[in-house]
């Protein structure tokens, strides 16, 4: 987990979840504040200036989406969304509105902590850190080279762009629209099948077992995530 102690704000109307999170996060010496409604959450954000927000989408007074929209007007604080399965459209909307990542309830602590860590991480510019490494995968931005277990991998420009976008946001989920916008541009943000085809090609080249991917994970119904632990 992160070395620095951070201030975390938990916005969830379920008291037990807040308790669970408070106990678990305190283990890492974080300061945990709580809010049980959207309005309280917004006020608490202003008051406590947390480093990270854990936001439940199913709040009693306003939708989690509205909270995100309001907060994003004036703050870039990382927001992690907690939501239920079968609400994929809600998750996508939340991510598009500015949330950084999500966990699906019921979630495991390990998953949550990993995503929190990614969200809190300072994102290095490619120029700051020209080489990205995780497992056997190595991406050299300066030389535009990709290696898998030391061996060079030949990627098409689109495949490289895809991989670069995922690496830039390593560990975070990227919605399909976001990826399409980044690689193909605004006007093609709905061509989901393009994304699938190229993703499939990319996986074939960098994954040891494309059907059981280790690096690029599909977040069903939402988008993709490059794992980097």
């Amino acid at each position: 987990m992160t070395d620095a102690a951070v201030r975390i704000l938990v916005i969830d109307d379920d008291q037990k979840i807040r308790q669970l999170l408070r106990i678990s996060l305190k283990l890492y010496h974080h300061t945990v504040h709580e809010a049980s409604t959207g309005q309280e959450g917004i006020e608490a954000t202003i008051l406590h200036q947390p480093d990270l927000l854990l936001l439940d989408l199913g709040l009693p007074d306003m939708s989690g989406l509205e909270v995100i929209q309001q907060l994003r007007k004036w703050t870039n604080t990382p927001i992690l969304v907690l939501s239920v399965r079968d609400k994929e459209t809600d998750k996508i909307a939340a991510l598009d509105a500015g949330a950084d990542d999500y966990v699906t309830k019921p979630f495991s602590m390990g998953e949550l902590i990993a995503r929190m860590r990614v969200a809190l991480r300072h994102v290095p510019e490619p120029s700051e850190s020209p080489v990205f490494e995780t497992g056997d995968l190595q991406v050299d931005f300066a030389r535009r080279q990709v290696r898998m277990a030391g061996a060079l991998v030949q990627l098409t420009p689109i495949e490289y762009d895809l991989l670069k976008t995922l690496v830039t946001h390593a560990g975070k989920v990227m919605t399909r629209r976001h990826l399409l916008r980044e690689v193909w541009g605004q006007e093609h943000q709905d061509q989901v099948h393009w994304l699938r085809v190229h993703m499939s090609n990319l996986r074939a080249k960098i994954e040891p077992d494309p059907a059981n991917p280790r690096y690029i994970i599909t977040e069903s119904g939402v988008g993709y995530r490059l794992l980097d632990e």
């Binding site: 420009p157 490289y160 494309p210 994970i217 069903s220």
Partner: protein
Amino acid sequence: MRRTGRGYTYGAAVIIVTLSTLVCQLIRSFFAPTNLIMIYLVGVVVVAAQYGRGPSILASFLSVAAFDYIFVPPYLTLGVSDTQYILTFVVMLLVAITISGLTVRVREQADAALERERRTASLYAMSREFASNRGIETLMSVAAHHISDVFDSQVLVALPDASGQLVVQPVPDAAPQFNTQEHAVAQWVYNNAQPAGLHSDTMPGAEGLYLPLRAARSTVGVLGIYPREKSRFLPSDQRSLLETFANQSALAIERARLAEETEQARIQVEMERERNNLLSSISHDLRTPLASITGAASSLLENNETLDRDSRRELAQLAYEEARRLNRQITNLLDMTRLESGAIHVDKEWQSLEEVVGSTLDNLTEPLESHLIQIRLPKDLPLILCDGLLIGQVLINLLENAVKYTPPGSSIEVSAFADSCEATIEVADRGPGLPPGEERLVFDKFYRAKPGSAQGVGLGLTICRSILDAHGGRIWAENREGGGAVFRFTLPFEGTPPEVESEDGITVI
């Protein structure tokens, strides 16, 4: 009913008298005039038998006149030279009239008997049709058909709705003249279980006669009869026959009602039973993992001091895995509920099967640990049009089943192939396989290979089938050569994936 048009029959009478005259003329030389009278009497009998009272009276008079005119001197006058003939004439006329009267009555009785027989036959036929028919609509059109036929009327059947108001039921040849006044008469008949209308003591000015349909327990409705010829309608013996028809119909309708009610009750009981089964299955399958979780967690609480590190870890792991399993159960049940109520929305997109499989494996890491999983997907498998989440659920269910029913360490293979119209995906195992003959039954709700033994409501495969149905695909199971079972499902291609923009082949070094 014989229709007797006046002109026609009287004309016939004249013709027959003429014929009699001709015959007499022919045999004149051989017989005395008094014997020729017999020929005329025969003619009168014929007219009486065929054409009824009026014409036969006419024939009687005409016969006497003709006899006088032609065969009694002075010939060709209506005068009489021998006064004996006056007696002859009188007696002849009397006899002719009497015979005609008798013949007409005989004929009428014969007609009446024939008519009664016809009606009884119709009543019998109607009863038989009632016995073999089930639905109330059919019964009513049978009744209407027979009654309108036998009584030469238009017929209407009205049954009460839930509040006791009469509603006219559609039958063929329905009477058109049913207005609010008639409706009021009919409603009165229903409420009071007494006949009313035409030819009755109550409201005789109505357009039709209304009879209550009285069955064993209650009045089931009203029969309305609109005779085509009001004046000739219903002498008393016909009335009782009509009431018999009505009673038969009422009994048949009541019987059909009761049968419907019994069927409804039976269906209710069946539904209750199924619902109770479902509920107890669900209760069991949700509580089982919950029991493990509660047990593990409470054990950790109770024995926090005494448990060693490894045991604590094991218990926590157990609780975690069972919680994941419970989540999958709940997903299945929710999917089932949504599918049954038609609420599921199939969101088809062009998916990479590889991706769908990848997600599935992600969801099942723990259960799959115990087996050897082999994925064989062709590199050039095209994109498939389907709902990724739902098909992922199908794969989860198939893989979970494979893990459940096969020995640990055995292999489970996932493979696929495609032709021009559909893609086929297979999940094959090396377990005991399916009981022969039950390959289709496994997809039924609540089916379980070994009753009471395995986990799971048994809904997994049923959900798979519903999902495949919603995609227009098929799913089936077979036993495999070399042992084990293979589950296959197909997803049809609808059109081709839209074109992917091509890249020039410049690669990055």
